[in-house]
Amino acid sequence: MATVTINGKTVEVPDGTNLVLAAEMAGQEIPHYCYHPGLSVAGNCRMCLVDIKAMSAKQPNAMPKLQIGCNTIVQDGMVVESNNPRVQEARQGVLEFLLINHPIDCPICDQAGECKLQEYYMDYGRYHSRFALEEKVDKGKVIPVGPDIMLDQERCILCTRCVRFLEEYTGTCELGLTERGDHAELTLATGKQVDNPYSTNIVDICPVGALTSREFRFRARVWYLDSTPSICAGCASGCNIDVDSREDRIFRLKPRANAAVNGYWMCDEGRRTWHRNQGEHRLTASYLRSADEFVETDAADVMARAAASLRSRSRTAVLASAATSLEEGYLARCIAQRLGAGPCLIVSPSTSSIPDDDKLISTDRYPNRAGLLALGYEEQLSPPSGVDSAIALRADIVADDETAWGSFLESMTETLVLADAVGKTMAYADHLLAIGSHFEAAGSFVNRDDRIQVFVPSVAAPGHALAGWQTLADLLAVLGGPRYASTDEVFAALCLAIGLGAGRTHSSVTSEGTPLASWKSGSGVKVAGNSPRIGTGSPASL
């Protein structure tokens, strides 16, 4: 550990910390563009220049020149000023340099509102332009550089975050710099497209509006968007995300830093999972089968009838998708226990046509297989025997295998389907309950590294759909089981039930996610640190 004083605030930081991060720990901001905690240090933007008043306790001499914070590693006894007049003058100079050739087209720029040029100008700039408009360097605009990425070379400040990401993370090197001086520009490598599975991360890390998402651009002003922390349900990795929405419509997903799970990144496929959440295919009401017709019916009524029907069967199977949350899975298991202790099965395949990579993509396209296994579910892709009724939970099993599951469900005397979207399995339902997606409810998943992570609703469920856990909790109560009033109550009960300790709530789960093993009572299990796939990151400013 090293003790460092920044703007009079003394803080102890781990050895090897740079000044940008150390300042953050001291509650001070050192503005920066090119530095990103997930990438190597480039040191080119010169925005993080600071005044080092004492190098260390051993060498208390001041540095004659201003130094960049990103490439300065703290030393014990270091004294730094990041806001004195000398630093302010240099920083204002850098900002002015950055803006002289910038088009300043904020009114039509998608980055407006989350642009570091705008933000730092308001914080540290605020000068009048001394540069003649007609002398600006013209560069290329509206250049598609990949299926989802648009480049504006004039807005680019050449910080090389994107270049470094594509070199260091994906190793695909699609972008580079050409030309020199103020004619230097970000350029697509000959014959290439930025179309790797992680490409859109460069839009996130672009501090200005040079790289924009072709999907998101011109769709919404960011200041109208609400951002909700969540977990990606696109695969078993459980990348941490922010869901940006407005009026219950999702506009984009962005990775949220979690050093233990996804670092600072997420894959493009995961980024598109919100598409499933919107559209005509969503199930918005509950239905009863009457003769050969579905009749839209109040959910409570459907549930009461389904409960009555299930109660008169001898044994009910739960057929759950591995996208089922821990809470839903636990409640469904409680229901099965009351209905002849029927089997609880995970009916989603654990592999897919998408292979595992050594980064964030899992071949298992479901977010909670590990959680359901912890709850005692078994994996079985074929129909079970010895049951006369079934509850299909988020699983469109008929779409997976029409012959096997179709004839199985036909042989059931009661089939209750809980689904958030229209699917083939619905056709076999006696009772059909519309439930919300994971974007629309609170819950928790356990990822492939056995890490519990929680999420909260980002948007409201469409139409009359209710949260899945709520529907199952109501059903359990109707069947004579305990009544759970919140996801926290369900979570506490399930943790107790599977040996994860008493009194657990969603807020007991740490921001990095809690490894299951660390909650196993008296297990003494040594808990692994970060995911082996991402190395060590730091939850620092981006």
């Binding site: 925005m47 490439n71 240099a90 850098v94 002015e96 050449l158 001086g181």
Partner: protein, 421 residues
């Protein structure tokens, strides 16, 4: 100095490019002796004792630089000869390479021996096609004689020298830009630390020395540190190549003792100013250093004296200007060079070099306002000390010094009649 040391080719009648002539003139004797008889540390001590300071521009003590090399890393050590000579007004290194390449090779062999280097590189600027050819031939000759390759001079020692041609960028003369370029990358200078002595080319400990510096090493080991120290000021002594260009009768490269008076150089060695002209100003160390007015030119040309006068010896590229010189036009041309050569990596340099030139075009074309004088000065000020390498400073220093030394010409320019572009 009556006798030439570095420019010995001027004193002999034979062609020193040919190895047999070079050997007949006493060449490779020193390298053979040093490698057979001297411990590397003793070579470093001798160079330190000689107070040799780098001839590339910064004047950093060469022996001290060598002693910063990371030891015991298990990695190879590289010696890179910086032959990118691209500072405007500088043309001394090419004189050595074009006419006396073996002198450089011998200096490199001794230096490589001192720092434990097996493979050394000469990074030569692309425009020096002839010099590169001469060096390649010289290396082939030395290899044929057994002076390079395996078992050099009959010892068990291996040593190789490779020529690498640049593609003509000023920034490749900055030592970490040179390293990046040698690695096949864009010559973006590296952030320091780590310094090349710890993490240089291919991630290995690396020393980068200028051509003239390495040539001096040969003579120091041949004639001794005391001889070297006896030439010019003791704190930075030795024979020195001065490149004089501009409005003098006899421009060219002159080998003279370090500390030769500037006025002697101009009026004695170079034959004085062109007929009917008066000395107006001198840039003493290549276009990047502060300019001196005529009345400030009564100085000795050594590292410390020029600094005392408010400028720098730099690469000793002495640009002499007479009273016909339009300082605004001269500065515009200098600013154009740095604008063209900025690598574009750091914000202040990338944007500032272009801004400076655009402002100076305005002055030159009579479109500037009085406020533009302040703008010019503050833009330059914002470029000083704020970037990874010193190209930014190199672009800003002349601007600030021209404004400081010749304010009346810039003020007059704001009253010029507008010239059509």
């Amino acid at each position: 100095m009556s006798e030439h040391v570095l420019l010995r080719y001027r004193d002999v009648s034979t062609d020193l490019r040919l190895i047999d002539n070079y050997i007949a003139d006493g060449g490779y004797k020193t390298a053979r002796r040093v490698i057979a008889e001297m411990a590397p540390d003793d070579v470093i001590t001798t160079v330190k004792d000689a107070n040799l300071r780098g001839r590339g521009g910064a004047g950093f003590p060469t022996g001290l630089k060598w002693s910063f090399l990371a030891k015991g890393t298990g990695k190879p050590v590289y010696l890179l000869c910086n032959a990118d000579e691209s500072e405007p007004g500088t043309f001394k290194d090419r004189d050595i390479m074009d006419h006396d390449p073996h002198q450089l090779l011998e200096g490199m062999m001794i230096s490589a021996w001192a720092i434990g280097c097996i493979d050394a590189y000469i990074y030569i600027r692309g425009e020096f096609a002839y010099g590169a050819e001469v060096l390649e031939t010289a290396i082939a000759e030395a290899r044929a004689k057994g002076f390079l390759g395996k078992n050099i001079f009959g010892t068990s020692r291996e040593m190789n020298i490779h020529v690498h041609r640049g593609a003509g960028a000023y920034i490749c003369g900055e030592e970490t830009g040179l390293i990046e370029s040698l690695e096949g990358k864009r010559a973006h200078p590296r952030i320091k630390p780590p310094f090349p002595a710890v993490f240089g080319v291919f991630g290995c400990p690396t020393i980068v020395n200028n051509v003239e510096t390495l040539a001096c090493v040969k003579h120091i080991l041949e004639r001794g540190a005391a001889w070297f120290k006896g030439i010019g000021p003791e704190a930075g002594p030795g024979p020195k190549l001065y490149c004089v260009s501009g409005h003098v009768k006899k421009p060219g490269t002159y080998e003279l003792p370090m500390g030769t008076p500037l006025m002697d150089l101009i009026f004695d060695h170079c034959g004085g100013m062109l007929p009917g002209r008066k000395l107006k100003a001198v840039i003493p160390g290549g276009s990047s250093v502060p300019i001196l007015r005529a009345e400030e030119c009564d100085i000795a040309m050594d590292f410390d004296s020029v600094v005392k006068a408010g400028s720098m010896l730099g690469s000793a590229g002495i640009i002499v200007m007479d009273d016909s010189t339009d300082m605004v036009a001269a500065l515009r041309r200098i600013a154009h060079f740095y604008h063209h050569e900025s690598c574009g990596q750091c914000t202040p340099c990338r944007e500032g070099t272009g801004w400076l030139e655009k402002l100076l075009i305005r002055f030159d074309e009579g479109k500037a306002t009085v406020e533009d004088i302040t703008t010019l000065d503050t833009v330059a000020k914002g470029m000083l000390g704020t970037t990874i390498c010193v190209l930014s400073d190199a672009a800003a220093m002349p601007v600030r010094s021209f404004l400081q030394k010749f304010p009346e010409e810039f003020e007059a320019a704001t009253r010029r009649e507008t010239v059509a572009a």
